[in-house]
Symmetry: C2
Subunit: 477 residues, 2 copies
């Protein structure tokens, strides 16, 4: 079992704890704040609701969460230490000294700092090469980006280990090759923040108008392509140079006030706080967090569908989660129910029972060798008929498992029966499905290849001793 030590709780430390725990790591937290356990518990509750909903398979069993009384206790036996203490350099250096008294030399110390360079963090450390910047983005349990900044004196093995661990917990390590104040992303955030402060201060726009100007337009572009690829597309066939030739002259124009930094007066702080209350005060922070997470899960699942941007990271990570086979019937789906699958009746919508059943059919196809390669070769199964019985309600966040019985498996026809159960083992629905083997070229039925048919016949034989499922062969009305 792998162990992560989280030094410093709060929203960021809690997000890290959730990432590790939900990916099967044990987590020990050290934070002198007496409220730390409650705060981390709240972040974990959000994470348990959102992170598993990204995947169409069950995540590993959760690791064990503990709270340590000292740094030494937290980091003993840890493979990874994540430091998220306040942004004060001397405090961070003091914490590293204490960590390195106990920590395994093979482990890595990642810092969540948004501003300090690794060379600053490493100053005076017993082993500077063990300390890297691994800068996350809130909510840490959903956003994949981690800026990995090793600085100038680093151990390549530590960087490789850092990338491996971060990938293991479903994140995207971006190696920042040259250290610089605020790394990369926060330089953009800071630039936009400065310009936004000016616009509010000068009375050009309110906080709400600024948010709309971002999320109704370029925010949607940046969620999937970023800056340069978006502009490359905008430039059209004429290419990137043509685009820059158009945009270039604007650099000479007074299009930002960034040469100058707004004074951070109490009046400006009050103005922004008031506008923010007017904009978002109708919802509590907890409600806003859940709306944000539901939106992020929806966006990330949409990107996953096309394996694009952050969706590609999730799709690749999901392949690591194995489907467990059971003695009697194969488990073809084991997953959490995302919020996006529910409807106005407060339960899983009828269409997603079929989506789960279709995922079960897909998983069964892989079991018999009718996988992506088989399909690329021009063969597939098309569904010709489905019959669903809805026996019990299923709710967002619940576990959903499907076990699949083969009713018939010779020749062109494939007859399956899916048992759809919740985490408590209650049968919530059944789906009976009839498929036909087809050639993707002619789009007409044909016999499956012999190796697929052989596996199918073996399953059908093994299942032939089972009772006919209740509801099989039933008609409506």
């Amino acid at each position: 079992m792998k162990k992560a030590a989280i030094i410093g709780g709060g929203v960021i430390g809690g997000g890290w704890a959730a990432r590790f725990l939900l990916n099967g790591w044990d987590v020990a937290v050290f934070d002198p704040d007496p409220e730390a356990e409650r705060k981390i518990g709240e972040v974990l509750a959000n994470a348990r609701r959102a992170l598993p909903a990204l995947y169409d398979r069950a995540m590993p069993a959760e690791g064990t969460l503990s709270f340590a009384a000292t740094i030494a206790e937290a980091v003993a036996g840890a493979n990874w230490v994540q430091e998220s203490v306040p942004e004060r350099l001397e405090m961070k250096q003091k914490v590293y000294a204490e960590i390195q008294e106990t920590l395994d030399p093979e482990a890595v110390i990642g810092s969540s700092t948004s501003g300090f360079k690794p060379s600053e963090l490493q100053e005076g450390a017993k082993d500077p090469t063990q300390i890297l910047v691994t800068h996350p983005f809130n909510p840490v349990y959903l956003l994949p980006l981690i800026e990995v900044v090793p600085g100038e004196t680093f151990d390549p093995r530590a960087v490789d280990w850092a990338k491996k661990v971060l990938t293991d917990v479903g994140m995207y390590p971006l190696h920042v090759r040259k250290e610089i104040d605020a790394h990369i992303a926060d330089r953009f955030l800071e630039a936009v923040w400065r310009e936004a402060l000016w616009l509010v201060k000068d009375g050009i726009a309110t906080t709400e108008e600024i948010d709309e100007a971002i999320r109704m337009g370029f925010g949607l572009r940046w969620a999937q392509m970023g800056l340069f690829e978006t502009y490359r597309v905008a430039g059209g066939e004429a290419g990137m140079k043509h685009f820059m030739a158009q945009f270039g002259p604007a650099l000479e124009w007074p299009w930002t006030k960034l040469m100058d930094v707004p004074e951070f007066t109490d009046d400006l702080v009050d103005l922004i706080a008031e506008q923010s209350d007017a904009q978002s005060g109708r919802m509590s922070i907890r409600e806003l967090e859940r709306l944000r997470d539901d939106n992020l899960v929806g966006i990330l699942r949409a990107l996953k569908k096309n394996k694009a941007a952050a969706g590609g990271i999730i799709a690749t990570h999901e392949e690591r989660f194995p489907l467990t086979l059971e003695a009697d019937l194969p488990v073809t789906v084991d997953r959490a129910i995302p919020q996006t699958w529910t409807d106005y009746n407060g339960h899983m919508n009828e269409a997603h029972y079929l989506e789960a059943g279709a995922q079960a059919t897909d998983a069964f196809m892989v079991l018999i060798g009718a996988d992506a390669e088989y399909i690329a070769g021009g063969n597939s199964y098309f569904t010709v008929e489905n019959h669903l019985r809805y026996l019990d309600e299923m709710k967002a966040g619940e576990q959903l498992r499907v076990r699949t019985q083969v009713m018939r498996g010779e020749g062109k026809k494939l007859h399956l029966f899916h048992f759809i159960e919740n985490g408590g083992g209650t049968l919530c629905a059944t789906m009976e499905t009839m498929l036909l083997h087809v050639s993707l070229e002619t789009r007409r039925s044909c016999a499956p290849l012999p190796e697929v048919e052989a596996k199918l016949v073996a399953y059908a034989g093994a299942h032939s001793t089972l009772a006919k499922p209740d509801g099989a062969g039933r008609s409506i009305g």
Copy 2:
């Protein structure tokens, strides 16, 4: 019929043409470029593929597209003129003079300018109050944001008319109350662009690394909440002031190079073009456009599910598209098939046939008065059984219509039969569905309210003379 005149084609003018045409307006284009017709045709092809896929109802019938030989011909009888000529002030002013010779004084001239202030555009015009900035974002057929900048001398009726027209074609008009160079959004884009040029020039990051730093992290946040609301949530219960107290000091730190503008040398242009080729050159611009649009449709549909951000605009706009009732069976779904509904077999996935059928059931519920208000009162129908027959493949971009026959409609049980057809009228699937009326409080079955039952009985009576549908009451196997 309403008419829009598009002065200046290309990617932006073409996007505007698509917005108006697909929302049922007639469109006349003037562009002296001999390639204009081909270029606009390409944008339209992309728009026809993506925009209808945002909605779960059919958009209005397309208007008529024409190409005019002169500005006068294009703007004659137009209710809206959209100017998207190159960013040269004298050229724009000359175009307005020519437009105003012919244009109806009640019509509005919107300019797509990203940099000029309305007062600059209006200088010397016959009627300055007719000219506004209406600044769009690429792709104009998908992104809802329009910055409406009327400037200091404006006619409030023109602003109201502009907002109404833009809302009518599914966009989000953001009223910019004070004119300023580059309006609002482009000031942020410019700030990020400048910082990005520095990072590339100084060898800190490549174009690809910068795009990843955006799209794997804060881009996902900005797509749904923007800047201030995101930070409000990050600040937690302590609130916006607490957040700013933490972030404030960074204003004093050297976190951007924006006080200084990078020199736009040939070397820098070449460096960026080379890095962009290395990053994205494996795909053609056409392929990138389609990936971008598929991602945007997926993201926007995910936001629509929660009626959040741009998804709220789409949900509200969709309510304007009426469902037409036919003499024999009610048409309960009429829509385009989004790319996100297809699977590895190159056709609509089986689960989305049920999703379309469930939408048909929902629409039928509204017809009999079991609508949102009825559900809010604690009553609803739960599906207990579905039987689907898949008769023909359906493809992305095709039209999908559902007609619904009532098989039984007295008491607690409701038995429906949905005919799922493509745009050519071919029956591609049937879905037989049995529902039970329930109390949302007890989650148990109960009788529907009398007014709903009365409407149901009327439908069932009218449909009782129809033949029993082929496949009704059928079982699998």
